[in-house]
């Protein structure tokens, strides 16, 4: 219990630090968003309206410290301001929308990739030098070594454009109303399959190779020899003795990967015009949408922290040695 509390305190401090960074970093960039907006209206906006806009976005003429105080209060209340790019939508609603799509796509893809890769690694190591071991890991490592956007575009071109097996972009068919219907659900799945497959193909090799190598190291341990000598079934030795121990280091990397899901697989979302976090981030940066950027950075860091907390908890559950810490 003490362990969990200490971890929690650490995460609160880390969260505060990231909130603070999210405030200061955009303000170190040159330019100011209202001027950008003003320019967009090409002089058709009168200066009084400009001042109103400034006030609405919170760019009041206070000192930086005062602005920081106001901002911190807003964050605590969950008010992230109004997006400039998607004016007058609030940042929270814009991010909320994108977050769902990112979780659907990248979240599921990362989980699938980790699960399949780990399983493949376990089997490859168990029959080291067998046909599985000499085909799967090299194949997927090769796929992972391709530049990702090239792999994604090649698949999109061949499977989507030429063979027309998959839609070319977006999260679902516009002609179907987003509601809890079978048609909508299948449209979402149909649109996610190809981008998700590219993520799985590109990342599975690393999981597989990592798992295979830790597995082989673990299989050299005495307790594996003893488990075999005990006459346990090979399945039990492989899963309960070898894989169970080899999984531990990989859980850490999995947590990191899960945390970074929320930053969106930027390249995936650009190639497949998928309306997720990564796509949003690109737009926010391009249009100097400070509130949106801040909101995005905030969600990303909080997600990474959250994923780490999850790993800490999972680790305590998986590895009894960490429980005393």
């Amino acid at each position: 219990m003490k362990y969990v509390l200490r971890r929690l305190l650490f995460y609160v401090i880390a969260a505060w630090a990231s909130v603070t960074l999210a405030f200061f970093i955009p303000r170190m960039m040159p330019g100011d968003p209202t001027s950008t907006m003003f320019a967009r209206f090409k002089g058709k906006l009168d200066p009084a309206a400009l001042d109103d806009l400034r006030a609405a976005f919170g760019f009041t003429d206070g000192t930086l410290l005062e602005q920081y105080g106001v901002y911190l209060g807003n964050v605590l209340r969950g008010e992230l301001g109004i997006s400039i790019e998607y004016y007058p939508a609030t940042v929270s609603s814009v991010i909320g929308n994108a977050l769902v799509w990112t979780l659907v796509l990248a979240g599921v893809a990362v989980v699938i990739s980790f699960t399949l890769g780990t399983l493949g690694g376990v089997l490859a190591a168990w029959r080291r030098g067998g046909w599985l071991d000499s085909t799967l890991p090299p194949l997927f490592v090769l796929l992972g070594a391709f530049p990702y956007f090239w792999l994604a575009m090649a698949l999109l071109f061949v499977l989507g454009f030429q063979l027309e097996l998959f839609p070319l972009g977006h999260a679902y068919d516009d002609r179907i109303a987003p509601e809890a219907s079978w048609a909508f659900f299948s449209s979402v799945v149909g649109h996610a399959v190809l981008p998700a497959a590219t993520i799985v193909l590109a990342t599975m090799g690393a999981w597989m190779l990592d798992m295979r190598n830790t597995m082989i190291a673990v299989m050299g341990e005495d307790y594996i020899k003893l488990a075999v000598a005990k006459g346990l079934s090979p399945r039990r030795v492989m899963l309960r003795y070898a894989a169970r121990n080899a999984l531990l280091p990989n859980v850490t990397s999995f947590g990191m990967a899960l945390g970074f899901v929320v930053s969106g697989s930027i390249l995936t979302e650009i190639v497949f015009s998928y309306p997720g976090q990564g796509y949003l981030l690109l737009q926010a940066v391009q249009s100097q949408d400070y509130p949106l950027m801040q909101g995005l950075f905030l969600t990303i860091t909080l997600a990474v922290l959250g994923a780490n907390l999850l790993v800490d908890v999972a680790y305590a559950w998986l590895d009894p040695r960490t429980r005393q810490g």
């Binding site: 307790y223 020899k225 003893l226 005990k230 006459g231 346990l232 121990n245």
Partner: protein
Amino acid sequence: MSDALLTVEDLCVDYVTERGWLRVVDKVSFEVQPGEIMGLAGESGSGKSTIIQAILRVLKAPGVITGGTVRFDGKDVLALDKRGLRGLRWCDISLVCQSAMNALNPVITIGEQLGDAIEAHEGVRRSQALVRARELLELVGIEGSRVHAYAHELSGGMRQRVVIAMALALRPRLVLMDEPTTALDVVVQKEILQQIIRLRRELGFAVIFITHDLSLMFELCTHVGVLYAGRLVEHAPSQALFERPMHPYTLGLMRSFPDLHGEGDDLVGVPGNPPDLWKPPKGCRFHPRCPQAFADCSTRAPQLRALVGHRHAACHLVDQVDQLDQLDQLDQVDQEESP
């Protein structure tokens, strides 16, 4: 001697490497009688562990059994299929590993590790297996409530007890012990040894006990085999071996350890290093390090031959007509030469 529990005959083990096949155990033969403690001694790399891993057929990747037979209670162990092998393992023959630190799976409780062998072989339910696990722990002097403990929560000595308890889970007739006390401090070592002796008396299993510590071996074992570079060079009842080693290597090994009873012999040891098995010396493999080597030793390999009193030795010296006199003289020469 058909009543032997375990008969190992001409056992050969090779490591298959890129350079070729490396013979690491070369035609080793011995027998273990029911209930006896048989010792195997030798330097690191002499093939001790490889032999007992071959008996249970748990040799790791490059190791392959390339010849000989292993019979347990009449069964041809090397001919067993997977099912038969799983039946042999732990029910008939169990294993105690060298390092108690790594012999237990760190992420599951010791109760589960004690119980899973019982579950696997007797098909009992987990709760029953756990009850048996408690009894096993109490058998080696650990509180039954520790079944829920993990390996890292136990001291080194306790871990080794757990491993011994595990080996006895199915009441096997033979327990292979690969340096079970090497990683422990002397006091704990003594306790563990006494426990092994007590348990063997109560349960009547036979033991193959591996160590490089000959003084320990004489205390514990009924018979002792001495290995050098993958070959058995001497094999004898331990009392006879203790009183009069026939092979110069055995003598060297005995002089590598201080006498437990404090008689002030100097430690001499065996000069030089074990041979490179890729190019073992011609003739007797020990001759380059042997203080008594003569011309014959570097050309002709001595065979392990039977001598009086159930003894065996592979040395040209004991082939001489008056072996005992010869050895006495050589013993003296040896002592004069040594600093």
